[in-house]
């Protein structure tokens, strides 16, 4: 599904990714871990195509197609989706307007999205400006709802747990599980994605297939999510840094 080869990226002249290699096959959800400022958000913003993240080397492919030169719209239309950690507020633009845009050619999805809005208790959000004046948990719900409406082939979620209370974590975890739930096609495959979170609460509720650790713009470790997570919970990222230096 997604193949990243020796990806190098800079932001405002500063290197933020230094040769990242990553493969995420169809039907797998991977976990991206790393300390603050290690480049996790830079990686997913680069995959999404944000122009501030300037690719200086390497490539990104999706289903065999090189998408390195494609703009944000083209990548979104190919099926890449992102729930941002700190999305901008868009004054005057109601969530309903964006949902209507997303769903205008997918009448089949409309009923399900309406159900989700009800289940997630988000009816009152629809006529509010996107992300404006919303709490942390409300922003996350809104972001994941938009992803669910689009059902992208490859979904990325950047810290869907940050700034969220425990009750909301339960709801957000359920929404993410719906996002990655197996599709009806035969043979059934679950959704494909990349998740950034350090919440053990959330990871107890969402199945991830593989974890990667990013340090200073490089992926330094990949493996079984539970083993890597246990190690980080025990001794923090210090052990990853030591391991990398060895």
């Amino acid at each position: 599904m997604i193949s990243i080869n020796d990806l190098q990226v800079e932001v405002e002249g500063k290197n933020v990714l230094n040769g990242v290699n990553l493969e995420i096959p169809e039907g797998e959800v991977h976990l991206l871990l790393g300390p603050n400022g290690s480049g996790k958000t830079s990686l997913i913003m680069t995959i999404m195509g944000y122009p501030q993240y300037r690719i200086t080397g390497g490539s990104i492919s999706m289903n065999g197609q090189d998408i390195t030169e494609l703009d944000i719209t083209e990548r979104a239309r190919l099926g890449i989706g992102l729930a941002e950690q700190r999305p901008p507020s868009v004054s005057g633009v109601k969530l309903r307007m964006l949902l209507d845009y997303i769903l205008k050619e997918h009448e089949d999805k409309q009923e399900r999205v309406l159900e989700l809005i009800k289940e997630a208790n988000m009816e009152s959000f629809l006529d509010r400006d996107i992300n404006e004046g919303l709490s942390g948990g409300e922003i996350k719900r809104s972001e994941i709802l938009l992803l669910l409406s689009r059902q992208p082939l490859f979904a990325m979620l950047d810290e869907p747990d940050s700034g969220v209370d425990l009750d909301s974590l339960e709801l957000l975890s359920s929404m993410i599980n719906i996002l990655f739930s197996p599709k009806k096609e035969y043979p059934a495959k679950r959704g494909t994605g990349l998740l950034i979170t350090h919440s053990t609460y959330m990871l107890d509720r969402i199945d991830v297939d593989k974890a990667h650790v990013m340090i200073a713009g490089e992926l330094v470790c990949s493996g079984h999510p539970q083993i890597i997570m246990n190690k980080i919970v025990d001794s923090g990222f210090e052990s990853c840094i030591e391991c990398r230096e060895k």
């Binding site: 719209t73 979104a76 941002e84 633009v93 307007m97 845009y101 689009r150």
Partner: protein, 378 residues
Amino acid sequence: MSREIIMVSNNIKELDRNDSTILSEVGISTEDEKRSGTFVLKDSEPVCSCSSLEGVELLPMAEALEKYDWLWGQYYWGLIPEDDSPLPMDQTISKKPLGYFLRVKKGEHVKLPSQAALYMTGSLGKQILHNVVILEEDSELELITGCISNAFMRGGEHIAVSETYIGKNASLINTMVHSWGRDVRVKPHSATIVEEGGSYVSNYISLRPAGIVDSNPVTYLNGTGASAKYFSVILGSESSEITLGGDVYLNADETSAEIAHRAVCTGGKIIQKGLLVGKASCHAHVDCSGMLISPGEDGYIESIPGLRSHHEEAQMSHEASIGKIAPQQVQYLMAHGMEEREAISMIVRGFLDADITGLGPELDQRIAEIAELAGHGE
């Protein structure tokens, strides 16, 4: 110079098909079952004047002056003194002026809108007219005024005097949609008086700006509890010069007024003003907001909200803001599958709609068109 009126149709369906298509751009419908009355002025000729309700009288102004002796003095030049007439002298004193007379009779609550189309095709350099609208006590009407020049027209001038009288507990929503050629000069001169408990809503939408628009409508809230609301949406483009004001005099207790100007500048000059004058216990607010989208070197928006208070119980406030679209907002919407121009259009649409509710489908459609044009940088 007075003009003879010839062959005024009483059926909107008899309009030339090309004219109908053009007029539909500014909200004029040729389906008479959708309108309670229609007046169409093409260049210097009224080509249609009709009403489907007994309680709604819609006549060419010249015919109304002939029919009603009381009109001149009491209503015609009743709000705007003849001495202040922006019209040429021969038009000011003419007993056969262009324009329309619209009256809604006492107690008539008209469900369907009436409409007036002021249409310039290029066969006349100037369109000079004088309108009088009277809503008698406890009546109600929505009026759609569409002003447009055809695509072939170069130059030209449209000067209109409009005097509007809103009686006790009467209500008028006046929606004006403009779509002018680039070189046309437009100078409306409007005054409205609202009596006790009356309500006046003025919506102004400029789809394609004329070369020069200079408009400063004035409203006098003279009766207790009277209210006025001005809402304007302007799209300015290269070489246009638009000055849009709005003065409201709150002369009686419990009156209220709101002015909300929204301007999008993709070039040209826009000056948006609003002046609230509190002379009694009243509430009023004026908001002049603007958005710049690639205005070029000479393009600008100037916002001047104004307050003048003569009374200690007058509660008045103002705000003004001018900004650009943040690239992060555009990119965010693009990440949900939009083209850049679609994202800009949606943000402009949101800006134009902000805090304004209940405009109805007609205006929503026009605002969507402006947002679409702005998204294309037009």
